[in-house]
Each structure stands twice: as structure tokens, then as C-alpha cells.
Symmetry: C4
Subunit: 179 residues, 4 copies
């Protein structure tokens, strides 16, 4: 599957739910560990603003990740992300249940991942995306690969692509561009 950017925009116009993987997507893949086994992650400030704008534009946000740490709960709460699924070795059933709950078709979902365990979900959603530095196997299964790397703006790029396709980007940026 190798869509053009035009095809990605057509898919993005239908998106009602945007789902993000965590390690390697909302972060650069680094898992910081301390002596008591406690964990730390580094998120990217500009990704956070993108997520807030996308949510304000009317799109639902969710994360689904295979690992499980309170770090992610804290960050997602700060960003106002309600649908947080951690410790999910298999992501596809979680996606399907969430779609059911929200009355959103998988075709109306955007998902961005970086590794092979994202493939089942990527093959199911309407707008499958990968970060610039994703595992090479993902390239054939996504509509679009961001120019930015994971944890360095890939999520912001995805958020703006969806808003641009839906015609909501200018309105969301208006508070800054027209102030």
C-alpha cells in the first residue's frame, strides 16, 4: 500500500478518532530507567500543542501502547486525552472495542506507529501512518510517513495533516495568527 499525499488527505478528511502509539511515536523510543526500576519518558512540547488543537477541532484522541507506566497517564491527563489504553500486547481488539464504544468506523480512524506490533492496527484503520524513523517493515502498510521522527514532531505533523484535510487548521491557528 503506497498512497500519495493526495490519497492521505482524502482519508484524513474522514477521520473522527486519532490514535497514537507511545514509545517511538510520542517519544523517540528512549525508556529511561532508575535504580528502583522507576521509569521516565521524554515527550515533545510541540506534539502536545498539536494534540490539543486537534482535539479542539472535534477529533477524539486515544493512545494504545503495549507497555504500562503511570508516566503516560500523567502526560495524557495534562493533554486532556480521555482514551488511554496501556499494557495491551494486542492492540487490534482494543481499537475495535473503542470504535464500537464511540460509534466510529475503523475507516474513520487515524493511527500512527513505529514498530511491527503496530501492523495489525495499521492494516485496519482508514488512515495508517508511521514516523519517519519507523521500522522498515511499516513502509508498505501506511498511507503516509511523517517527515519528522518520533518524539520530534511526528505527532504534530499528523495532527496538522488531519486538520488541514478537514479544513479546520486555519480556524484552530486563528487565535495565534490573527491575535
Amino acid at each position: 500500500m503506497r498512497y500519495s499525499l493526495q490519497a492521505a488527505y482524502a482519508k484524513a478528511a474522514q477521520v473522527r478518532l486519532a490514535i497514537f502509539d507511545v514509545d517511538g511515536v510520542l517519544t523517540d523510543g528512549s525508556i529511561y530507567i532508575g535504580e528502583q526500576g522507576e521509569e521516565y519518558k521524554a515527550f515533545y512540547a510541540r506534539d502536545g500543542l498539536g494534540m490539543k488543537l486537534l482535539q479542539a477541532s472535534g477529533v477524539e484522541l486515544a493512545i494504545i501502547t503495549g507497555r504500562d507506566t503511570p508516566v503516560v497517564d500523567h502526560r495524557m491527563r495534562a493533554l486532556g486525552v480521555n482514551h488511554v489504553f496501556q499494557g495491551k500486547a494486542e492492540k487490534l481488539p482494543v481499537l475495535l472495542a473503542l470504535c464500537e464504544q464511540l460509534k466510529i468506523a475503523p475507516e474513520q480512524v487515524a493511527y500512527i506507529g513505529d514498530d511491527v506490533n503496530d501492523l495489525p492496527v495499521l492494516r485496519t484503520v482508514g488512515l495508517p501512518m508511521a514516523v519517519a524513523d519507523a521500522h522498515s517493515l511499516l513502509a508498505d502498510h501506511v498511507c503516509w510517513q511523517t517527515q519528522a521522527r518520533g518524539g520530534r514532531g511526528a505527532v504534530r505533523e499528523m495532527c496538522e495533516l488531519i486538520m488541514d484535510a478537514q479544513g479546520t487548521l486555519s480556524a484552530q491557528l486563528a487565535r495565534y495568527t490573527e491575535a
Copy 2:
């Protein structure tokens, strides 16, 4: 707005107050989070020396940031920055109030940012600047974009540009170059 470096120097010569955004400018945009939701940031040593030299040259320093964490208070105290405004979703009113308080015109202010929420301030100050890796929308609204990235010397570059334009750089460096 696309000034030349010459135009940036002309503006810089008038600067009496330099204001820095935090995430993405004084840092590379990484927000480190631990399991209790506690936050960490990474500042750049050489930026710190630049800020001290600029302050010693007679320019007031301030930071205005949308987020709010004691991390920033600690670092700014260590650098002797008196004007610290955090948790400000709208930065422009803060800028205008500070100008009023210090009896400094916006035309005499330099500001460096990295994201779209910096645009209202950038459009108001005399010397608007952006880091090398700023959001692409900022390019048309700044006098000068640093060669260094945020958290990797962009602030140092701005401090030296202002001192150079004001003819104070050599004097500030003299303690090192003539010791």
C-alpha cells in the same frame, strides 16, 4: 516579514529587554516526566553564560511560557532572571504589562520562540526571532532565525547578536579574552 541580518542588527541595537520562551527555545522541546508526574528539563550550559553576559551588559531578561513547573523557577533563579512568567496561555498581555512596568517600548524588546503560540508576541516586538528548528509558520514573522537549534545554543546566539549590535560584546568577553 523577511529582514536581512543588517536589519536585525539595527533592531537589536535598540533592545533593552530580551524575552525567551522555554520549551523548544531554552530546551530542545523535550518534557521529561516521571511516575509521580514530576517534570524535568534539560537546559544548555552555554545558553546560561550568554544570558548572564547579556544581563551584565545592561539588558533586562524575562521568560514567558505557557506551561508551569518549579523546574523553570530553579533554573531562572540560578541565572539571575527576575521576570519569570509561567502558565500564560496568552503571552501578549504579559508582554505588554511587563513593558509598562519597566517603561520599555515593545519596539525595544527582543523575543525568541519556536511555535505558533509565540506569534502574537513575535508580531509585536521590535526584534522577533525564532530557533533554527522552529515551526515553519514562524519564518515569515521573525527578523532572524538562529543557526543553532533550541536548547543547543539558539539563546546564546541571540544574546551575542544583541551585544554585538550594541557594541557591548567585546567588553563582556574581555574578562576572558584579555585575562
Copy 3:
């Protein structure tokens, strides 16, 4: 010693035990230290998945490192790595003892390192490897140098190379590619 990739695959087909250095291999070499002397390390999420898949394919995993910190115990436990040897200034005796214990010949061992203290082990094992950014002295003593740097996918690359050579890679990825 400069093998071709073909020669590396021939060696990899015989591997029953894969051993990883820690600093500079499972991390990018950064040792984070706090004010009480406590230590932190940053591991790479995609390396972790590679190690789990390699272990599931039937290959034993071990780490041997010259330094010693509970951080490594925590991460290795999370990945299910049973053979963890820390504080070993001399790595070769540890390797030989482990081979004896597991009834595995050194010729059936893969080892990946980044610095000169890895040389004695690299000269002994069947599949000696180095990360892309290893010390230049290692180049002449390894079968293959990964394209990825330490802490940024070098270990994942090694894991996939071994599984590919052993014909187990497709089966391990099947849960993702055929779901």
C-alpha cells in the same frame, strides 16, 4: 578480520546464545547521574521487542558489562533476560563459564560491543559484532557492524539478522504480519 554479510549470515545460523554489552550498545553510552550518585540509563523500545522475539525463537540471551547498577537488573528482568553479569572488568572468563554452563560452544555465540574492553570476547565468539558508532579499533575484529548506533536499534538489527539467518524471523513476525 573482515567478513562479508554472507559470511555473517553463515555464522549467525549457528548461534544459540546472544550476548549484549550494555553501555554504548543497549544504550547510546550516556550514563545519567543524580546528586546522590544514583544512576539512570535510557534503553530503546525497539531493541526490547527484538530481544523478546529472538528469545522466543529459541536463542538464549545474556548481558556482560563492566559496570554494575540495579538499573540494568530492572530492565533485563522486564525483558526476561536470565543471564545478567555485571561488574565484570574481564568479560572473557564470564563468557567461557556461561558457555560451559549452557553446553554451548563459543563458536555458537554472538556478541555485540562498542569499546576496546570487548575485544577479548569479540575475538573468541563465532559471530562478533559492533555497533555503527563503535570505537574504531573494533572494526577489524568483528564480522559485521550494524547500520544503527548503540541505543538506537543496533541490538534490534542484530536480533533480526540472527533470526533471518536461522529462518525464524518470518515465524516470529507472523503474529503481526498475518493477524
Copy 4:
């Protein structure tokens, strides 16, 4: 002052004391700060081995830094560095006092720095060096600029250059290359 590599080797052959700046040299310049103002630094594993080998070869090691944090004490103790001077805004008097104490002439000292506050010391020692990503003003005041950046091998490169010039490098590496 622009020496050739040959000239740097001639100076290095005389070195009895090697002094390292901390921020930007033993680290990449990042100063990590937490919510209580506590500090963290990231050191590079391969630099540590270089310092140990250089010390084993008979050269004295010291650090002189303008900032002051227990983090540095912990790391220097782990590396066996006895001469640790922190909180020194002026580095030159510290250098001269240390030379006096150790009965070593400044001409027999190597120093590596990254910023303008290193200039007074760099102009005084026999072998002044700078990291690859040093402030541009240092270039004219050093014998040699490392190919590696601060916190990413610059110190290792300096240690090996000195040992190579003194004919001790092979002996120090023998435990690894001939084991």
C-alpha cells in the same frame, strides 16, 4: 594559534597533567533540572575508560568547572579523579595553584574546554584543546580540536592522543588487544 596535528603531538608528549572542563566537554552541555532544583548530568561511558587508561599510564587527571554540584563529585570518584575543583568562576588561579602543588609546569598541562570562560586557561597551558562543537572563539586559541563532540567522545580522543604521543597507548590497550 593554529598548530598542526604534528605540533599537538609534540606538546602532548610533555603532558603530565590533563584537565577537563565538565559541562560541554565531559557532557554535551545539557544540565538536567528537577522540581526541587536537583541536578543530573549525562556522562559518556567511553570517555570514562579513556580517563582510566590515561591515569594508569601515569598522567594526573583533574577537572575545573565554574558550576558546582555533587553529581560531578560522584562521577569523578567513580573514575578515580583526585583533583576536583568546582564553583570556580576563574579557572586560571586554580590551574596555577594545582601546578604549584604537583610541581608540574603549565607547559606540561593539557586542558580541554568548550566555551569562552576556558580561554584564560587555554592560553596558559602547553596543550590547549577544544571539543568539536566548541564556541567558535576557541578555534584560534587551541592546538587541536577533537573530531568528537563534548559528551560524545571528545575526552576519549584527547586521552588517546596524549597516550599515543607518549608511546603508552599500545601498552594500555594490550590487556584488551593481546588477551
